[in-house]
Structure formats: C-alpha cells, structure tokens
Amino acid sequence: MKNNNVYLKLIPHYYRKWIYLLFLLPVTFLILKETEIINMMEHSSKALFSVLFFLPLMLVVFTAEKVEDERIEKIRMQAFGITCLFAFTYLLIMKIFDLLSTNENLENITANELVLQMIIFYLINKFIMLRKG
C-alpha cells in the first residue's frame, strides 16, 4: 500500500551536527564585537546578530530526527499548531495591553522577537511531547 500522506520535506538528520556548529557564528560575532575587532553601527550589528542567530535556529526546526516516523510527524504538526496558537494569543494580549495602557513609551513587539519566541516555544514544546511519548 502506497503511503500518500504528505509530510514536510526536512533536512536530513546527518546535517544536524553541522547546524549546531553554525551556532558558533553568533557567539564568535559577539566576542569579536565585544573585543572591538569588528566595529559596526549598533543597528547593523543587531541586524547581523539576528541573522546569524536565526539561521541555525530555523535549520534546527526543519531538521529530521534520527528515525523519522509517523509519530514524530504527528508531534511536529501538533507542536506547530500549538506554537501558532501561542503566537496569536500572545499578539492579541499584547494588542489589548497596548490599547489599555496609558504608557506612550511602550514598544510594540518586533517580528524578530515574535519569531524568536515562536521558535523557542516550538522547540521546548516538541521536546516535552517527545519525552512524554
């Protein structure tokens, strides 16, 4: 019987160790910036750090597990769903808080911050679900 379930195309598990090595890039960048070997504008360095930090995080999210089976696929989809729900709720609460607040200095959450929180929430969620079985 042909399995016609549509699964996400993921990066093979083999590449995970290389992806973990990519986390050295933002760390190296921070060290170089702190020691002032790299001299950049505050805004540019923040943007570059975001890119260097997001890239391996996103790759980790879309990397396959050692044994990729239907249970892991289901857990992944559940974690994606819960993460979307978390993001919508979070944005809604922030908007309501923004409307009710009289503090004009309150900053809106940036897309970068939201995506970062979503990725971290997703990874924690998936980890807990995998442990629970």
Partner: protein, 66 residues
C-alpha cells in the same frame, strides 16, 4: 484502543528495538504504542501484524470509549 503488542513481542522473544527496526519506526514509537499513548496508522498496524503473523484485529481491539 488497546493492543497486545507487548504480549506478541514476548512470544517472539523480541525487543522493542527489534520490532521497531522491522517496521521502520523508532523504539520510542513502539513504547508509546504498547502503553496505549499512540494509535498507529493503518499501514503501521498492518506492518506490525505482518511481523507477528496474525491479523490486525487480533492485535488491536477497540474499547467502549472508541
């Protein structure tokens, strides 16, 4: 839904890892199946019944609440 995977596995003197390798899933998936935390797809149920040389109905049975 309950199942007799653990019993069938014991009859064949098979470890969870052996069964997992034969049906192409992870050991954790077999563990979840045995504990009733995960309900398999039709394909996986058929593969498991194939390994134990029995029918799917003999391994997986519906409960009242299903």
């Amino acid at each position: 839904m309950k199942n007799t995977i653990k019993v069938e596995r014991a009859k064949k003197d098979m470890t969870q890892q052996n069964l997992a390798d034969l049906v192409g899933v992870s050991r954790q998936t077999i563990n979840s199946l045995e504990k009733g935390r995960y309900v398999p797809s039709t394909i996986l149920a058929l593969k498991i019944s194939d390994v134990f040389e029995t029918s799917v109905n003999e391994i997986f049975t519906l409960e009242k609440e299903d």
